[in-house]
């Protein structure tokens, strides 16, 4: 119980720190979004319109930083992130709401598949270490995890999309078939997701295999594994319940980080495959100096990292009794 409370307190503080930094950083930068917008419109905006824009974005200079902070917190509590400049005048929250499911669906599912598959292969390869499969898997895993991701994605897109026409070249769904909860639409969405998901799995699988294998091998040398063998416990149970359960624990932290960075890590995938998710949005926001959108996205990324870590922490407490009960 104390473990849980301590963790929750930590996450609360971290959450506060991240929203405060998110507020401060843009304001520490020279210039502001409204001036920027005006520049882009080549001075066609009147000073009155600029004033209006400034107050719209909450960037009015005459209020103190503290007042602005207060307004920011109130706006945040209402889910009001302002209006996107790129997609003017759509509110940021609406833009994000449209992109979020695509990213979670594609990158989230691909990350979970990659972690689960990599962990299983890692367990199996460590159990049969020094076998033919181990000798093949380790260099292969190192090889695939050394690929630069954007290059891998471009090659896949070129070969399987452009040359062979097996998969669509871009987008998350066909323009003739708007997304809906119908069978043809779901098939269409999955069809669009296969190639990008595959590149993510290929690129990250090697890392999961290697780290699980490398955790598992020392864990197989432990005295309690030897004792379990001497006690006649079946190999399958020793492999999963004794060795893998212990070896998995350090990997969970890595998995939490990966989950948290789903939102941010999607940038390259979504750019290469023109996938309408958060990463693509982040790229656009950054290149258009769309501060409200950028700020909201950065906040979502930090909250996602925190949330993923919290979930894994809670899971850790269940999987490792030592985390739950040790007082220190």
């Amino acid at each position: 119980m104390t473990y849980l409370r301590r963790r929750l307190l930590f996450y609360l503080i971290a959450f506060w720190a991240s929203i405060t930094l998110n507020f401060l950083i843009p304001r520490l930068m020279p210039g502001n979004a409204a001036e920027d917008l005006m520049m882009r419109m080549h001075g066609k905006v009147s000073p009155y319109a600029l004033k209006a824009l400034e107050s719209e974005f909450g960037l009015a200079q005459h209020t103190s930083l503290l007042t602005q902070y207060g307004q920011y917190l109130v706006a945040l509590a209402h889910g009001n992130f302002g209006v996107s400049i790129t997609y003017f005048p759509t509110p940021v929250i609406v833009v994000i709401e449209q992109a979020l499911p695509w990213t979670l669906g594609l990158i989230g599912v691909a990350t979970v598949i990659s972690f689960a598959l990599g962990t299983l292969i890692g367990i199996w390869v460590a159990w049969h270490r020094a076998s033919r499969w181990d000798r093949f898997t380790v260099p292969a895993a190192m090889f695939t995890s050394a690929f630069p991701y954007f290059w891998l994605a471009l090659i896949f897109l070129y070969v399987f999309g452009f040359l062979f026409h097996w998969f669509p070249l871009a987008q998350a769904y066909s323009s003739s078939l708007p997304p809906a909860l119908t069978v043809p639409s779901i098939i269409d969405i999955v069809y669009h997701a296969i190639l990008p998901a595959f590149t993510i799995v290929i690129a990250s699988l090697g890392g999961w295999i290697l780290s699980m294998r490398n955790n598992m091998i020392p864990s197989l040398q432990e005295d309690y594994i030897q004792l379990a063998r001497a006690a006649g416990i079946k190999d399958r149970i020793i492999m999963y319940q004794y060795a893998a359960r212990n070896a998995l624990l350090p990997n969970l932290t890595g998995f939490a980080m990966a989950l948290g960075f789903i939102v941010a890590g999607a940038i390259l995938t979504e750019i290469v495959f023109s996938y309408p998710g958060l990463g693509f949005l982040l790229f656009q926001a950054a290149s258009n100096q769309d501060y409200p959108l950028l700020q909201a996205l950065l906040l979502i990324i930090s909250v996602a990292v925190l949330l993923a870590n919290l979930i894994v922490d809670l899971l850790y407490g269940r999987l490792d009794p030592r985390a739950n009960r040790s007082g220190g």
Binding site: D223, Q226, L227, A231, G232, I237, Q241, N246, L319, R322
Partner: protein, 335 residues
């Protein structure tokens, strides 16, 4: 007495590329029903290899094993894996070297006990199982309510008791104990020893005890086998070995430990350190450290030969033609 374990001419050689490291060399001994035998020696003498080989835990990929091991009348080399798995823990169980690491850190004591029962298909009803677990814990003086705890929540002594409880769950015929009191303070050690002795009397299992602690072995064991550099260099009833150690190495081992009773005396160590098993000296492996070394010791490896009806020693100080059947060597120590 019925034989439980028979080890004959067992040799274990670790192979690592071109290097061959003989860790156990031509070791033979038997353990009868209810007997306590001890294997004594410093670290690196091959005693741990010997017991992992007996327990069939050595992978043939890393070690060549020759000789035979009979457990309860069956040659373990010809037993199929599933039968071997069933024989484990019911015929031969293990109290491991360090109970600190020998219990699975993320399983409660109860779960670890249940898994062992389940592995042997003897999963009775939940109530019987709980009763069995409680009884086994009570046997080693642990309150049954502690079964919900995890290993890290127990003290070192309690962990060792749990390890003993695990070993006794299926009422094995032979329990191998690998340094069962290492890492515990003297008072806890004492308690554990008393426990082992009491349980052995009550349940009548045979024990194969492995330790470097001669005083412990002499107190518990009926028969002692002293190992040095992978070979048995002296064997015999523990009282006799304690009173008249023959091999200079055994003499050194006994001189290392204070007597449990009697007057104080100056403790002597054995000069030098155990040899590298990969690079043994010529002749007798103990020769570089021996204070009574003869010329022949540098050239010939002494073989283990009987010096009386119950004792054997592998040392050139006791040439076989000079040993009479009176049991005591006429070729006395030079010192």
């Amino acid at each position: 007495m019925k034989e439980i374990l028979g080890v004959e001419h067992l040799s274990v050689t670790y192979t690592d590329g071109n290097r061959r490291i003989p860790a156990v060399n031509d070791v033979s001994f038997t353990v009868d029903e209810g007997e306590i035998i001890a294997i004594a020696g410093e670290s690196g003498c091959g005693k741990s290899t010997l017991i992992t080989a007996i327990l069939q835990l050595l992978s043939p990929d890393i070690a060549d094993i020759t000789g035979s091991i009979r457990l309860n009348g069956q040659d373990l080399a010809s037993v199929d894996p599933e039968l071997l798995r069933r024989m484990r823990w019911t015929d031969i169980s293990l109290v491991p070297q360090s109970a600190m690491n020998a219990l699975n850190p993320i399983m409660s004591i109860e779960e670890q006990m249940k898994r062992i029962m389940a592995a042997h298909g003897t999963m009775p009803t939940t109530r019987d199982l709980d009763k069995r677990i409680d009884e086994t814990l009570v046997m080693v003086n642990i309150q049954p309510r502690y079964k919900k705890l995890y290993p890290f929540e127990l003290s070192g002594g309690m962990r060792q008791r749990v390890a003993i409880a695990l070993a006794l769950m299926l009422h094995p015929k032979l329990v191998v104990m690998d340094e069962p009191t290492t890492g515990l303070d003297v008072i806890v050690q004492r308690g554990i020893l008393m426990e082992i002795r009491r349980l052995q009397k009550e349940l009548g299992f045979a024990v194969c005890l492995v330790s470097h602690d001669m005083s412990l072995l002499i107190e518990l064991a009926h028969t002692i086998y002293v190992m040095y550099a992978g070979r048995v260099i002296e064997s015999g009833p523990s009282r006799e070995i304690y009173r008249t150690p023959k091999h200079p190495y055994t003499q050194g081992l006994i001189a290392c430990f204070p007597p449990l009773q009697g007057s104080r005396k100056v403790l002597e160590g054995i000069p030098g350190s155990p040899p590298d098993l990969g690079q043994l000296p010529p002749g007798c492996a103990f020769q570089p450290r021996c204070t009574q070394c003869l010329d022949i010791c540098l050239a010939e490896i002494p073989v283990l030969e009987k010096v009386s009806s119950s004792r054997a020693v592998a040392c050139h100080l006791y040439p076989s033609q000079l040993t009479s059947n009176t049991g005591e060597s006429t070729y006395d120590r030079i010192s």
